[in-house]
């Protein structure tokens, strides 16, 4: 137990850290006064919430033990102070192009970071699977491009940049909308086209926006010049922000991307181009679409890094490396993240006519980003199985609540039909489907 040792403070004002949840707690208040922050069990150095959890876990373990006829499982109630706070991991070395050195191969991850990455990836995974379910129930319509399998990319990138930086991607955008600050509730309500959606139901799956996140873009490759333009604005305004500009292996063959490489390099724009190579552009594998599948080399005069996109630490380290490069004023840099999507291109694609089920299964069993992180944390004693399970339960609940909201929130009002055509504009009249239908548009 550690107190913040301030003897002059009254005993009941002393604060300390609970050993399990590491939250600050106050000692019991003096008589007649109500506690303001958590209740404590000072004896074991645990707050009551954690003590409760510990007792539940002990009882669960003992129950499991009793069921197994006292088999030699690891039964001892571990004290939660025994978790390793941080560990060093060896990650895959990245291939580099026109760079003298690449991202680090020895990285440190703290327990808190690990738990946060786990929670975020699990939230994204469950959110996409829920979207899959809702689509099959025909509650989500139109296009729905799911991101499951690629979670490490979004989480790793966000871990390396600030919320004050900028990001733009293509249509497989639900994950990035979440990491950039959108809530699951608003994302799902946008998918179901309700007024509580992040774009009030006007945009749908491919057009979600939030602060410093420019969507969600439907036209393949069009987001790349946009991203360079955002970077131009960063350079123009002299803030040390950068723009992360994502596109897929399919888009990598678009001409406007090469135009953008040229201008970004010429003007030394602070943009990180990231090619999320999931092996397939819709149904066309990379071998059938590209004369050169070394997407990290396609920048020609822009240095590049090829990264294992299924390992969140690899992505984070490479993104940090790229962000440092950009912020030092050296200009753009290119990253290729080798990743994989479990679903088809979109919900209308079963995803097995151009690849085998065995391939999908193999990636799931050997390289799943969430499993990889989980194994790392468990084998390094950074978390317990129960703790991670608890996170799973919380995430499931969050998704359920969001789905509930997304299916019960009403659709946008018809009065909203013509609104938001313009920004900061006096109201105008919009022609409806017939000459007598005169609709109103406000900004």
């Amino acid at each position: 137990m550690c107190f913040s040792q301030t003897p002059e403070k009254k005993r009941w004002q002393q604060r300390w850290f609970c050993r399990y949840c590491r939250q600050r707690r106050r000692r019991a208040a003096p008589e007649g006064q109500r506690l303001t922050e958590g209740r404590i069990c000072a004896v074991q150095g645990l707050c009551w919430a954690s003590l409760g959890k510990m007792l539940t876990n002990i009882s669960n373990v003992l129950r499991a033990c009793a069921q197994r006829n006292g088999a030699a499982a690891v039964v001892s109630a571990r004290t939660y102070a025994d978790f390793t706070n941080e560990a060093t991991f060896e990650i895959k070395k990245c291939d580099t192009f026109k760079l003298d050195e690449g991202p680090a191969t020895q990285v440190v991850m703290t327990r808190d970071e690990g738990l946060q990455y786990y929670r975020t990836m699990q939230t994204m995974r469950r959110m996409e699977l829920k979207a899959d379910q809702l689509y099959k129930q025909k509650i989500i319509r139109g296009f729905c491009h799911l991101y499951d399998g690629q979670e490490a990319c979004a989480v790793g990138i966000e871990a390396a940049i600030n919320l004050s930086d900028h990001l733009i991607t293509a249509y497989r955008a639900h994950g990035y909308t979440y990491t950039r600050g959108g809530t699951v509730k608003k994302i799902m309500a946008e998918l179901t086209g309700r007024r509580g959606g992040i774009a009030k139901g006007k945009g749908g799956s491919m057009h979600m926006y939030c602060k410093h996140f420019y969507g969600g873009n439907g036209i393949v490759g069009a987001q790349v010049p946009l991203g360079a333009g955002v970077a131009l604005a960063c350079k123009y305004q002299g803030n040390s922000e950068l723009c992360v500009c994502l596109y897929g292996d399919g888009a990598a063959n678009q001409g406007q991307i090469f135009e953008t490489y040229n201008m970004a390099a010429l003007w030394k724009l602070p943009v990180i181009f990231i090619c999320e190579n999931n092996g397939y552009g819709m149904g066309t594998s990379v071998e059938r679409a590209a004369a050169s599948t070394d997407y990290f080399k396609r920048g020609e005069f822009i240095p590049g890094v090829r990264v294992d996109g299924m390992d969140v630490l690899c992505v984070r380290e490479a993104s940090r490396f790229a962000a440092d490069y950009c912020r030092s004023g050296k200009g753009p840099i290119l990253m290729e993240l080798q990743t994989y999507r479990y679903h088809g291109h979109s919900m209308s694609d079963p995803g097995v006519s151009y690849r085998t089920r065995e391939e999908i299964q193999e990636v799931r069993s050997k390289s799943d980003p969430i499993s990889m992180l989980k194994d790392r944390m468990l084998s390094n004693n950074m978390a317990s199985v129960e703790e991670l399970k608890e996170i799973d339960v919380e995430v499931r609940k969050e998704i359920e609540d969001a789905a509930q909201f997304a299916t019960t929130d009403p659709e946008p009002p018809l009065e909203d039909l013509c609104n938001h055509i313009f920004h900061n504009n006096p109201p105008l009249e919009v022609r409806g489907t017939n000459p007598w239908s005169k609709l109103k548009s406000v900004s």
């Binding site: 006007k202 926006y209 790349v224 201008m263």
Partner: protein
């Protein structure tokens, strides 16, 4: 005597200092003033900086504002139009110049899908304050690929404002309004008008002179027939009106100034007065500006005031030829306007 001199001086000062300014200089002034007024405004396009502008519209701006604000781009329309839109999304106010609007076809996806639709798709979260400007329509002897008029194409799309000035006042006032507008504006200039001087009132020469987008102007009042036009052909209409006036036909000439949103009320008010309407444009007839005016007049209250169907005077429905005689005959001439007026009036 000193008193007389003082009186003379005062009298001279009161005389409005109208000046003759070419459209090119008016555009230059507008951009200069807006660049000075707002740090976030910048110009990018091919040859806009060190070349002083392909048509010298941006002459002197690079010398005054430097590389940061006047940016020469490589020949990558789709790329630099996208970059301009991205910069607008991130808070700047770009002016994206297309050397001619024919080249904007390469970048039209960025103009429509990335710029025009974004405010709506994001339910107002993401604004795109950008101006796309450049010469539009026929020039002289530049043949088919360099002579198309894009007014109808851009004016078709919700989310865009489409502006088409005629004289120097229009050019300056509308460009300033377009730059100050928080929405994507397509600003259609005309290369043949760049060198034409027009009188600019003292008011128009001031730094805060703007013309509202979406309002047409009655250039000449008349009572027998209404001529509606935009850009270069407003001048043709005024010339035709001068000829017709000698024959006793008084034409009311309306300068649209803005194609989208179109000021149909002004046209309707005029038609209710004159009962006859002729539209004049340089673009092709099918699905064009004149076609839209006809449809709107028919749908509105002015239809009952028409004494004859609306007549459209347009460019000939062909790709632009090169030979001078052919080129001259593929665009509306003053005699075509006079002929159409007389046919419409049945005289």
């Amino acid at each position: 005597s000193p008193l007389f001199h003082k009186f003379l001086k005062e009298a001279l000062n009161k005389v409005p200092k109208d000046k003759c300014v070419t459209v090119r200089d008016a555009l230059n002034q507008a951009m200069d003033e807006e660049l000075e007024r707002d740090e976030r405004v910048f110009l990018l396009g091919e040859e806009v900086a060190q070349y002083d502008g392909a048509y010298k519209v941006s002459r002197g701006l690079w010398k005054k504002y430097g590389d940061k604000r006047i940016i020469d781009t490589p020949i990558s329309e789709m790329g630099f139009a996208g970059i301009a839109v991205g910069a607008a999304m991130a808070g700047l106010r770009p002016i994206c110049e297309f050397m001619t609007f024919n080249f904007s076809m390469q970048a039209i996806d960025q103009v429509i899908n990335s710029a025009a639709k974004t405010c709506y798709m994001s339910a107002g979260l993401q604004a795109v304050p950008i101006v796309f400007r450049g010469p539009n329509g026929a020039s002289a002897g530049v043949a088919a690929q360099h002579s198309q008029c894009f007014a109808a194409w851009y004016a078709h799309c919700p989310g865009l404002k489409v502006v088409s000035p005629w004289n120097s006042e229009d050019a300056k006032g509308l460009l300033k309004s377009s730059i100050r507008d928080d929405n994507p504006v397509v600003f259609l200039e005309n290369e043949l008008l760049y060198g034409v001087p027009f009188e600019m009132s003292e008011e128009a020469q001031s730094k805060d002179f703007t013309i509202p987008i979406g309002k047409a102007k009655v250039e000449r009042a008349g009572s027998h027939i209404t001529l509606v036009s935009h850009s270069r052909y407003v001048g043709h209409c005024l010339d035709a009106a001068a000829v017709l006036a000698k024959e006793g036909i008084e034409c009311e000439v309306i300068n649209l100034r803005t194609i989208r949103p179109m000021d149909v009320e002004s046209i309707e008010a005029s038609v209710m007065k004159t009962n006859h309407l002729v539209t004049v444009e340089g673009g092709w007839p099918q699905f064009g500006v004149g076609a839209e005016i006809c449809a709107r007049i028919m749908e509105g209250s002015a239809f009952n005031y028409l004494d004859s169907p609306v007549t459209r005077v347009t460019g000939v429905d062909i790709p632009m030829p090169y030979a001078k005689i052919l080129e001259d005959h593929s665009l509306p001439q003053i005699k075509d306007i006079i002929f159409s007026v007389k046919k419409t009036l049945n005289v």
